[in-house]
Symmetry: C2
Subunit: 205 residues, 2 copies
């Protein structure tokens, strides 16, 4: 149904373009914004515009960063011979929170997805290959999602990186720590059986 | 965890002020906006700002409207002696979709909620009382949500409107059409038993 206000209509249309937000939720968000102070809404609108217009990226790992070289890349105590390839900044945060990785990152900015028209050239793949080309990197860890798109991207990168003579590894897939077997999907469970390890190796950490 | 970019930080903070959007979802939305064309994001940001800065309201029913008097209030075939009081434009749309109401509306713009610091003066109550004061209105239908806040608001309006000598009614509460009894909460079911009607009256519609 067309609304009685084209301004409301447009705001709802725009809010509904956000992932996971339908028109019903968009209307709720628009009415919430309408009830706020004018200055508050201007701040909201400006924060979104400025994010897109003024955001900067680390010249080494391509992560979003205020500085020309991000904190992680600039940190002299990080191991520079190992690079972990991830999709976006959320993955960097998630891996940093584990405190299990001391190397550097490379942020692709997405994964290959022909359905969405995203090919290798739309991602920071050239930058990754150029980084490896400079030498000094021994291992690249592929840490992409275990989805069709993630796997496609890993396959593509593996072929390119292999040609450069660097070791390519992939993060382990298997059952979650604390997970019951009957809760795990059969593909994951099957993979975790095929990829089984000697008991001593599995428990020593 | 603080992010590597204050721009991203601010955008996530702002997006997380939206109702039902946590920081995790806000981050997903921010990254989605970042991947879009610059012009697309400007359009998004402008639609939100303009909604708050340029929105206009119907001078009669207080609904959001591009025209000084909204389409419903300006329609000569609507019954002008009956006014349905609702919380916001969503309720107007919902009731219009039923095609069961031919009168006019009055949009409060919220409900009384002391917890959120919203009193009668923050709503369009004065405008409602002024409308009734002009005469010609025989019945006011209270169609607010069946919540504590909705009931408080209905009680407040009932007292004010009663003093003006207008008939005040309230939309029916009971079990949903198509609903099974064992799915209904006990308060609603109890109320629907207390408010039972003669069989002939219930089925004649």
């Amino acid at each position: 149904m067309a609304l009685s206000s084209s301004l409301l209509d447009q705001a709802v249309d725009q809010l509904a373009t956000l992932p996971g937000i339908g028109r019903r939720t968009a209307m709720r968000l628009a009415l919430d914004l309408l009830r706020r102070e004018r200055q508050e809404v201007v701040r909201f609108s400006e924060a979104v515009r400025k994010l897109r217009e003024e955001v900067r990226y680390c010249s080494e790992c391509c992560n979003i960063s205020d500085r020309p070289v991000c904190e992680i890349c600039a940190n002299p105590s990080r191991e520079r011979s190992i690079i972990c390839v991830v999709e976006d900044i959320r993955d960097v945060i998630a891996i940093e929170n584990t405190r299990q990785f001391k190397g550097l990152y490379h942020v692709l900015g997405g994964v290959i997805s022909p359905m969405d028209g995203i090919g290798p050239d739309d991602l920071n793949t050239k930058e990754l290959l150029a980084r490896i080309g400079q030498g000094g990197v021994k291992e690249v860890v592929l840490a992409l999602g275990a989805t069709l798109e993630g796997d496609t991207t890993s396959f593509f990168l593996h072929r390119k990186l292999d040609a450069l003579g660097v070791t390519v590894s992939m993060i382990a897939r298997g059952i979650s720590i604390g997970g019951d077997l009957d809760q795990v999907d059969e593909v994951t469970l099957g993979r975790s059986i095929a990829d089984r390890k000697p008991y001593e190796q599995s428990v020593k950490r």
